[in-house]
Amino acid sequence: MRSKSSTIVMAVYILCLLIPIYWLINMSLKTNSEITSTFSLWPQTFTLQNYVTILTDPSWYMGYVNSLIYVTMNVVISLTVALPAAYAFSRYNFMGDKHLFFWLLTNRMAPPAVFALPFFQLYSSVGLFDTHIAIALAHCLFNVPLAVWILEGFMRGVPKEIDETAYIDGYSFPKFFVKIFMPLIASGIGVAAFFCFMFSWVELLLSRTLATVNAKSIAATMTRTVSASGMDWGVLAAAGVLTIVPGALVIYFVRNYIAKGFALGRV
């Protein structure tokens, strides 16, 4: 009984989530003249031309490449620095630990709009403007605190006796950390990586501010098309669909980690 009404609720909810996305896909498969002239629930004259436009024009597809490059860099950097820090927070008391943790969290809460301009000046002055690494570093501002926080939650769940046993068995700290500890919190690392990917992938303001040509993200490419070329709805919709694809792939591959991570950690 309960499961039947639950099924209806979930079906309605997921349908509501998917309809706008369906509409975007629908639009991306229509020609521009059809979009503006007729209203239909599915494409009357099916076309892949919008996708062809994007995939053959470097100014479009380089946007995806750039986005993927800086997102990957960001995930790697965030996790590399967050892992030891999270370990420190989960295992030791040290001077100023509480304040440091809170300070880290406040950066997660800083409005990107506040930092856009100073970032621009900072990275210009050190010669990193319009590079992938600049965007990756800027995104660390909110991803590193988040990663530390998630990982710390998972690490607290690992009994300390495991560390001690490993040291008695003669493992050095780095070897213990990589060989024993990291596999234990694999699902935590999965969850943290997922969130880092997500927030870096969806962010627009900083990536738009910090790049003009060489590292221009797909999101930024899209906003400029909106303002410049009249309304090329079909191409815009196709570009939108293509931005959803990497996210959908990532979540599909990590779905079991996420389910497990959600069940175990505090996230």
Binding site: T7, I14, L100, L105, N107
Partner: protein
């Protein structure tokens, strides 16, 4: 867990510290510099003291934006938190359908903010969008580009569409940690559905819900991209939230001084509220570990 006192742990934290300091402290210094000075370009600064702050605190424009912002965040939380909990309660457990729902629900979370704006921009348009066209066909006068109320409704629906899943997933995580025995005990005690929710599920979800509220509050308070793409702050100034106003000021008009002062105050407000939440959370932790 008992932690050992060890100041060498600082070495483990050092990389994070340096990285975040580079990304946070230096820009923040720049902002502070602007906030207290005036400039006519060429890096020449004149001491302005608290002038910009006074100007911003008394500015009607800021008050209006703040009012809209608080209203928006309030409405968002009031809708998304109960709805998210409700969805989480109806989610299937483990197995194929569990992962299936999880994947589909997480989908909106992984769409770039401006694409979310674009989706709804298209979806809501009267001429080419399903929503706009559908409402028009039903005889409802709807146009989010002209009517402030319609713009608000569209923004709120969009945000609910975008973020409810996050609340639902967090609440679901909380629910998953409840052992089956609790539900069995409640059935034996003949507890009503409401009692089960009130005395078993809600207490267990309290921790994650606090996190969900915190995240949703922060993010909606900083919202920029989606309304920027969807309405551009309009019609008029009706959907100009704090971030949009700030960006207009800083990048559009190059009023760096007031914008910086504004940023600092904005940051302080968020910091204050975050601190309250953080303290509440750690107190809760302590209470539960007692």
């Amino acid at each position: 867990m008992d932690k050992t006192q060890n100041n060498k742990a600082w070495f483990l934290v050092l990389p994070v510290l340096l990285l975040v300091a580079f990304s946070a402290v230096l820009p923040l210094m720049t902002v502070v510099n602007y906030a207290f000075n005036d400039t006519f370009g060429q890096n020449e600064f004149f001491w302005e003291g608290l002038g910009w702050f006074e100007e911003m605190v008394t500015s009607d424009r800021l008050h209006d934006a703040l009012g809209r912002q608080i209203l928006f965040s309030g409405i968002i939380l009031l809708i998304e938190v109960p709805l998210g909990i409700f969805i989480a309660l109806n989610m299937p457990g483990k197995g194929f359908w569990g992962s299936f729902c999880l994947v589909l629900m997480a989908l909106p979370l992984l769409i770039p903010f401006n694409v979310v704006g674009t989706i709804w921009q298209i979806f809501g348009r009267v001429d080419i969008g399903l929503l706009g066209h559908g409402l028009a066909a039903l005889g409802i006068d709807y146009n989010y580009t002209n009517d402030p109320i319609d713009a608000w409704v569209t923004l709120i629906v969009m945000d609910v569409w975008h973020w409810t899943s996050l609340v639902a997933l967090l609440a679901y995580a909380g629910l998953q940690s409840i052992p089956q025995a609790y539900y069995q005990a409640a059935r034996i005690d003949q507890a009503t559905r409401w009692s089960v929710f009130r005395y078993i599920e809600l207490p267990k979800m309290k921790g994650v819900l606090l996190i969900a509220v915190l995240l949703r509050f922060m993010d909606s308070f900083m919202i920029y991209t989606e309304p920027f793409v969807l309405t551009g702050g309009g019609p008029g100034n009706s959907t100009t939230f704090l971030s949009i106003d700030l960006a207009k000021m800083a990048t559009g008009q190059f009023d760096l001084g007031p914008a910086a002062a504004f940023s600092l105050m904005y940051f302080c407000v968020i910091l204050l509220i975050s601190w309250v939440f953080y303290t509440a959370m750690t107190n809760l932790d302590r209470e539960e570990n007692r």
